[in-house]
Symmetry: C2
């Protein structure tokens, strides 16, 4: 069985990270970077994005050496997108100190002809108009997954509504689900959001895990409990990339593949937060992943539903 490739569209960036453990500048980041590295553990990956003249060629070759096709990463005149943020002492929240869109301000995703038949498409958190523009360039994808954020939920609700009708799976966090639906209770919020289009919805809750909603009900996977969390940046994107990579590798969207994909996504998110920026994620091998999945499964192993008779 040949594995299906994944197309990822999103930001490639420099992050300046003010962490409790110190300040780290010019850290390579961006949603597409994290997602692509995570997905590349499972299958071949194609990335569409934009960088400036200041972006190191070495990083692009690193990506290529992992089976990530960077032909869709345009190099534009000017500087790479840059985000500066400060994390709270316990890493539970962060504040954006500065956002310099730079070359990202004029980004219009152009899907290379060789990428247009990619069956698994992950639309990172960019303007919904651009996400729709990507979809118009893709030929009958098998699965379209999208991320979005509060900024577009409040500012571009009409376009976002159009996007929701065009995707199969929306991956957002709990605050975004509440803002998008206007409903606090997540079970009710999920029903509201799914009625707007996506058959599947995943609500991420960071260290508290993720909920998946579809016609078959609710599924929950926990976050992997870690002793040393260094930097949550990119964890959600690593989750989405790992999920997508797994689904593409096994070629299914149904249970139990979807459930396993969520665990794999969660495992990739857990690796991501163990290093500053994508450092740890870049180091993870398939053997590391297997070991963590074994531990993860032990964390939740109950002996199966059959044994759960009321004594």
């Amino acid at each position: 069985m040949s594995k299906h490739p994944v197309l990822i569209v999103g930001s490639v960036a420099f992050d300046d990270l003010e962490m409790p453990s110190g300040t780290f500048e010019n850290v390579v980041g961006g949603a597409a970077t994290y997602a692509a590295v995570a997905a590349s553990l499972f299958t071949s990956v194609r990335v569409v994005g934009v960088v400036g003249e200041d972006f190191p060629q070495g990083v692009l070759s690193d990506l290529r050496s992992r089976g990530i096709d960077t032909a869709g990463i345009e190099q534009a005149e000017g500087k790479t997108f840059r985000w500066r943020g400060r994390y709270a002492h316990d890493l539970s929240s962060r504040t954006t100190l500065d956002t310099q869109l730079n070359v990202f301000a004029d980004f219009r995703p152009r899907i290379p002809p060789a990428f247009r038949d990619t069956p698994y498409v992950l639309l990172g958190n960019i303007h919904p108009a651009l996400q729709l523009e990507v979809l118009s360039q893709i030929e009958r994808p098998k699965l379209v997954v999208a991320d979005t954020m509060n900024f577009w939920i409040s500012g571009e609700s009409k376009l976002l509504g159009e996007l929701l009708r065009s995707i199969d799976l929306l991956v957002i966090n709990d605050e975004e689900a509440r803002e998008l639906s206007g409903i606090h209770n997540l079970v009710k919020a999920a029903a509201d959001i799914r009625a707007r289009g996506p058959k599947h919805l995943i609500i991420k809750r960071g260290e508290f895990g993720a909920l998946h909603f579809d016609d078959q009900g609710v599924f929950f996977a926990p976050g992997y409990p870690l002793e040393d969390v260094l930097d949550p940046t990119g964890a959600g994107d690593s989750f989405a990339g790992g999920l997508m990579g797994y689904l593409a590798a096994v070629g299914s969207l149904e249970h139990p593949a979807m459930r396993r994909a969520i665990y794999f996504g969660s495992a990739l998110g857990s690796f991501c937060v163990e290093g500053i920026g994508p450092k740890r994620l870049f180091e993870v091998s398939r053997t590391d992943l297997k070991t963590r999945m074994d531990q993860f499964m032990n964390l939740v192993e109950t002996g199966g539903p059959v044994a759960f008779a009321v004594p």
Copy 2:
């Protein structure tokens, strides 16, 4: 196989609850009440506590009709312990408005002779000196589980230390685990707390589920996602009572019994929050419990660890 009985020592109270949905006064509550009702779905229960002259006899007969032996609930001169609290709009936090200890101020738990050989003992959140006093009256219990709270962690650390050396399982929430250990990271906090005595530690995280730590590692069970949460009062006590009831019914402390007990506890907590006070919990049948457990298991079913190969 005859099921083992459970002994529960703790508060029996009136609660005045200022909820977003309205104010409810004179609601029967107290940790021992919630825990006993939850445990009574699994096995026979013995309660030790104190009520005032104002406590309705009808409630005590309701408890007895469920197989709860109330011979250890002393009726003292004066009024029953009363707590008044106000919940935030989204029920995520609460403020104590008033605490009237009343007859609870002079409570000295006296274990009736017929209760002294109870193998499964749940020490509700009372003064650690009283928890120790209970243990001194019990003959070689098989499992001692205790709850505690920030008030005793900061004010009675020496006695609490003694208690920790005398119990098998401590059940506390995440804030309490952080305060008790002085460590923010829960995995590290758990190691610190277990080094002080209890072989097992459960950290409750409310709707986010519960973590169990022992020599075999970490186990996680989620909260059951609900559409309608009315009142979180007593959910933690229902969890502890359900856990204890299950363990006593199956007569084991080992995996997978412990893991299943945590799911059963979590299911009981989920019923509890669906009604004001213990109303819903009182209504739950073993059939309701079985149905919820089936749904709960479907929520987390992955097809087993064996299928989690890296594709």
